[in-house]
Symmetry: C2
Subunit: 311 residues, 2 copies
Amino acid sequence: MPATAYDAEKFFRGLTDAGLIVPVGVPGIFGRNHVFEDVLERFNALVNEIAKADGADYFVYPPTMSRSVLEQSGFLDNFPNLAGTVFSFNGKELTARQLSEAIHNGEDWERYENMTEMALNPASCYPVYPTFTGTVPREGKLVTVLNWVFRREPSREPTRMQSFRMREFVRCGTPEQVVEWRDMWLERGLRLLQSLQLPVVAEVASDPFFGRIGKMLADSQREQKLKFEVTAPMISEENRTALCSFNFHQDHFGQAFHIRTEDGNVANTACLGIGLERVVMALFQTHGFDPENWPSEVHDKLWVPTQHARA
Amino acid sequence: MPATAYDAEKFFRGLTDAGLIVPVGVPGIFGRNHVFEDVLERFNALVNEIAKADGADYFVYPPTMSRSVLEQSGFLDNFPNLAGTVFSFNGKELTARQLSEAIHNGEDWERYENMTEMALNPASCYPVYPTFTGTVPREGKLVTVLNWVFRREPSREPTRMQSFRMREFVRCGTPEQVVEWRDMWLERGLRLLQSLQLPVVAEVASDPFFGRIGKMLADSQREQKLKFEVTAPMISEENRTALCSFNFHQDHFGQAFHIRTEDGNVANTACLGIGLERVVMALFQTHGFDPENWPSEVHDKLWVPTQHARA
């Protein structure tokens, strides 16, 4: 029985009333309490466990990244509306006083801020590609990251956040290597979420490319089956919510960041991203707001007595 | 023996060569590898352990916060130069094309971005104060958070980061309650870091208030002993680096966020912040870049066989 019968407002209220999230007055931004975090950490440890034998290199990157890397990645051509850039004040004392006065008078103070060399990271994998620049070894590369990401998508749906954590795995190598790996993870991701008794399915998907040209890019992405998502009904039964996405980029990032395979060709990449907060919310949505009352198989899978593997 | 004899450049190169950090081309922004993260998580678990009996409520907030809360807090009056605000694009298709072209032509594209309702969180405790609004119970309140924070301080010193994690405890109540608590933690923090054989001392400190008026504020803060830091020599023997800070805010946040104690007075607050990356770096600096070669008492304290307490 879904906790909220697929109603975004009720789900948000339910999470808030249970103390699991703490609204801060900005849509898509909220605190998470210790129960929410415990579920998130334990699910993430489960991911470590099932991926351990693959031997991915683990890194954590800050929420802010190099703006020039974001420019180079092509993100701003395709999703200019979703990006966040970091601005700051670099004036002197008099201007600082004017800035302060503007704030106290409730005036706009946008003009006192200037663009910095940083942007907010829109997906965990963006800082990873520049580290592949050059020639990757015959067996390719495999990296995993857990970063805070930003998407400019203010919404009252609790599952559509502006700041959230994305656990990602990134594969780089020949087209065969990365597609085989992507397909393996699609199966694995589905099985993992099914083992937690979440009502998930895999489906072909597309990215929210901007504008009319974006519509064409999305159609082409869908036709070529470059993107799959594992989805669950969360705020509506018809419009399912993606918990994970599996993306084959072909040579997009290989070109952008000058990555080659041993045969001299431009390297291909694929990534899979797990929306950690969304998985946690899907568990609350499906099994109720109190983990103590979850089905015992689900509870035991997360609260096993042995310590979970670290990444 | 310090790993680098107090030299910022050598320390940065040492951390990079050991693979512990991954530079991304922006000063104060870098990736952390699995060894770095493991030490950070284990140290954070130690903090959980020593603080467990206090029963603090644990929350995690995103790296982005409500801009209006930051305005209300007074941060921008005192540290306008350190704040980061989030800007984004909200134009239509034609403007998006111009933005994209500007980027490809290597032109400035600042004018396409507009201020949003979000800022970067400059200290873990800022999202906490609005949750205290109203009358706090007789015993006061105690909250702990672990958030990514932002400070606009580009620097080649590895210990001076623009994005980093700050574990904080925040106490709210009568002046006596918060000062007693702050003093208890000053002792406790010092003992914790000494138990890891770090060459730490406690000293009176001040915040980097902006401008000439800021100089006066800093002097007054120092005279009233409102701020203490636990410091270690990291990039220089003379200019020690703060690993933790202990701050008595008097009624500053109580006034700003309308917090009262049961007797009807404006509530007082204090916080203590632990710079997690700085503690990790102090361990590498003091004991060397490979935790396997650390003194066994230090190693055992972090890699104990029993699972550490969760927050």
